[in-house]
Symmetry: C2
Subunit: 257 residues, 2 copies
Amino acid sequence: MNKPQVPDFLKNIRVVLARPSHPGNIGSAARAMKTMGLTRLYLVEPKSFPHEEANVLASGAVDVVENAVVVTSLAEALADVTVACALTSRRRELSTPLSTPRETAPELMARARDGEQVALVFGNETFGLSIEEVEQCNRLVTVPGNPDYFSLNLAMAVQVMTYELFSHVGVTVDYLKPEDRSATLAEVDSFCQHMDETFGALGLLEKRNGERLKRRMRTLFNRAGLQREEIDILRGFFRQSQRFADGTLSPRKKEQD
Amino acid sequence: MNKPQVPDFLKNIRVVLARPSHPGNIGSAARAMKTMGLTRLYLVEPKSFPHEEANVLASGAVDVVENAVVVTSLAEALADVTVACALTSRRRELSTPLSTPRETAPELMARARDGEQVALVFGNETFGLSIEEVEQCNRLVTVPGNPDYFSLNLAMAVQVMTYELFSHVGVTVDYLKPEDRSATLAEVDSFCQHMDETFGALGLLEKRNGERLKRRMRTLFNRAGLQREEIDILRGFFRQSQRFADGTLSPRKKEQD
């Protein structure tokens, strides 16, 4: 299976970091974004930028850092945006809808697909988003977590939110699966008959519970999701044990330990 | 609304770090875990542990680091486990089922709820999991991401996987929502009548498009999800404008800028 492509409309989703203090976090956020197929980073009044540490922590995502748009106000970063999500974990006395990344993702993806500009807005590492910053957004998004210990740092929050969006893109991990082919029901059935026959040839079905034993084995292999190559290996094992059972092969000497 | 509780059965899910090199990553992983309600950390042959840097990066999750179980083999960490997920992003020539965190989470949660022990196994920062380590697990889990740039560091992978599990716990973010109450349809309807009446009193409905104008406004406020307090504020505004329109209040002098 070929590698899938990241869809082009993800360019309509931007990450906005409001007043980030540590350049390392800018780099980590860029890495998190690119891993999830996003590339457009806006920085509102970053304390130190450009900065070597941002590039170091960006790892292979230096391009995202280098193409970051630096602006002097959040309004500027959001000017052409229709939906801006304020990422916050504080209780806010605002009637802006509050939702989880999972609840919000389908709407954001649909808008980006339609060509609208969407923003994910993250606050300063220490203070989060100010009330004024939150009021410039039209969605509140909170990552669910342990109510007694919620400590998601900036880059982690970017990672979780962008992971959630990416999981709605439809790019699966199928291309990483081995090419091995699942056995059909007919192949499994024929395999089970071979197993029954082998069990019989080995004298395993002479007790009263023979039928039950066969049924248990059939259930096991039906459940296991057999691959064709695995059937080939097991059939080889069946044949070999039959050869010993019927005397075609003579007993082997025990191997020395 | 009261703070919800993290369910007790999450203690049946452990995070296993196989041969971690950097103590800082142990701390960051502990913080990520605790943020998502997990507490049980196993370390297989950590290079440097205990270590001050692990505690520093754990932030408020030092308890998770201090209670970590250090073992000398992966088998030891998995001895009482029924389902072990190997987190991997490489293509593996194994017919172990490969799935995403989202696909795997329901099964893991169901097993943990039933009292089975479940493990999430993460490899070394540089080399990932060895083939021998992967073979000791009975599930392969891959976080979906950009096929052309997939760079999820150890703690980020722990964060994404534990976020995914936590999102199936049923602990919502509702307790963070303000107590404000949504208006009923009857309240919105009565509010819209008040608005129509106000528009009429202000001479806004005398043109031919009066009906259309009222309908647009009604659609807007139906869509907006009005809160009761917002209705109160708007009704106050309507009353006040009517008072100016009917002469109950005399015109105010323009404020100086």
